[in-house]
Symmetry: C2
Subunit: 319 residues, 2 copies
């Protein structure tokens, strides 16, 4: 089959990748209909995680092999494959299983391929009303929902999102849907206009943002973003750290202590509430799509996705 | 009156400090019976806060002037003097009032003196059953209680305290009193024996501490302490940052995001629950006292308090 792979040195589309098989009753094979390129994919091809294999962890597809009840269903899939038996799993923290593999990220082939295998416990049925172009956003949207679940204490307050990238605009919409007064802080006024037009969130240039907010979502992935967040948040407020800052940075955390701020690390989230936020809360995802490209042009698609300011690039194996 | 002052260059005991007066019906003058030297006092004489005036913010005393209902009562006093009118105060966050003064720390004379003035709303009556040597710990104990109030979600779990100093041993006891399984991580086995003998908490050398705990209290005030805390805590666990790390440090916060850890800045706390933890929960404070010295020897007392490993030094104006 066709697959976009990373061998540690370069990414390339191969035509002879082996089609995965549903090797036991707990797994299923999914024919990928659409997959999304994420910043994590770009970090992997920059050497992050030391991953080798088929890339990709955002997808929507159709089950072609596995337990009868699943075959033929349109699905999305959670990306962390947990052991289910260790203390972490038994404590209900399966997404943090220490021996997990992660689709397209850690020791498991991903979804930039015609077919992908995953545990059936990771599958979620996609309601008929959702188009593929929407369902493919469930994985990043789940990460946005996680930020909301972790900050229930601040629901309904004034929230500033730093970073007008894909993740920032998803988190902003999820926070607005729960009733927060959300402002997306942008580099400049032109970017503000774009944000408002795309997803209907309020936006303001960084220098115009009013300080003393209840919650800041740090989605720039820079140390400067975290320092700015500490400057914008009120005493006893919260900061969600949504993206890893790859390098070590000189940080002064004294304001965190003096103002008793809570800093919350946030990564993956649950798919159920993410599907609900698409179906019930009208979170807008398709305005975040820049292009849909055939999987066979995957290597070029990765280059294009890496250009600063590019929104979501989707890959279509069937095209 | 006698007072231990800091003029920006040196600390010294002066004999001619003016006795404060209860200038309006909202303030009281307290004759100080006993006061405690805190790490913050040592930071101030190292230049922190740019404070000038009478040092000291941990005290127990007796009201000598002010509203009739208070005169003659034995009291302790909260150290943040709030304006009471700004949005922060009206939102119930008076300890974070942006125009506050702080006794002995910021724009208000402190308690290393024969008399100190403070707002009556900051006073708390000390029950007869508590000795002065216990009541003088209410301020640091309130800071320990704050860590407990901020981490209710982790109550009853496994908690590691990093730092066997005064604050660490207070927080450890408060956490144990609420049902946490507490271990104090110490430099070496000799320090462990001391911790167990002084306050009855379990202690272990850092290298023997079992990872994967629910909550870490970082009370070493070092960047290494925070890195160690990220290494010890389980996914979705919590870290309380209890002391400011004075300099900027190169920190890698990626583990915080990947493991979805919550980092909670923690400073001052409420006196009511702190008094209760002394009276009802048997938190042991007197084993933390190294010496009680006359206020007239205050400059020497500050030098002694700065020696690494020194526990609490108390000052007695009447001696």
């Amino acid at each position: 089959m066709l697959a976009l792979t990373w061998d540690g040195t370069r990414s390339r589309v191969v035509a002879d990748a082996p089609v995965p098989e549903a090797c036991d009753p707990t797994s299923a094979v999914v024919r990928v209909r659409l997959a999304g390129i994420c910043s994590t994919d770009l970090q992997i091809i920059a050497g992050y995680m030391g991953f080798r294999g088929v890339l990709g962890h955002e997808f929507v597809g159709e089950v072609t092999a596995g337990p009868e009840a699943w075959v033929g269903r349109r699905v999305v899939g959670e990306i962390n494959f947990a052991c289910g038996r260790c203390p972490t799993c038994l404590a209900g923290r399966r997404r943090h299983c220490p021996s997990r593999s992660v689709m397209g990220i850690l020791a498991a082939d991903g979804a930039f391929a015609e077919y992908v295998r995953l545990p059936i416990e990771n599958l979620h049925h996609v309601p008929d009303g959702l188009r593929d172009e929407e369902a493919v956003f469930v994985e990043p949207l789940a990460a946005a929902v996680e930020a909301s679940l972790q900050t229930a204490a601040f629901a309904g307050g004034r929230t500033i999102v730093l970073g007008a990238g894909k993740l920032g605009l998803l988190v902003g919409q999820v926070m607005a849907a729960r009733g927060d007064d959300v402002t997306v802080a942008c580099r400049d006024r032109a970017a503000c206009v774009q944000v408002e037009a795309r997803v209907g969130l309020c936006a303001a240039a960084v220098e115009d943002v009013r300080r003393g907010c209840d919650l800041v979502i740090e989605a720039t992935g820079t140390a400067e973003g975290l320092s700015l967040a500490m400057d914008l948040v009120r005493p006893l407020g919260g900061i969600v750290l949504k993206s890893t800052i790859a390098e070590r940075h000189a940080l002064d955390l004294a304001p965190l202590v003096i103002n008793e701020v809570t800093l919350i690390g946030s990564r993956c989230g649950p798919f159920g509430p993410a599907l609900a936020s698409l179906v019930e809360h009208g979170v807008r995802v398709t305005p975040l799509i820049d292009a849909v490209l055939p999987l066979r042009d995957g290597a070029e698609a990765l280059r294009r996705a890496a250009v600063r300011g590019t929104k979501k690039i989707l890959l279509q194996p069937g095209a």
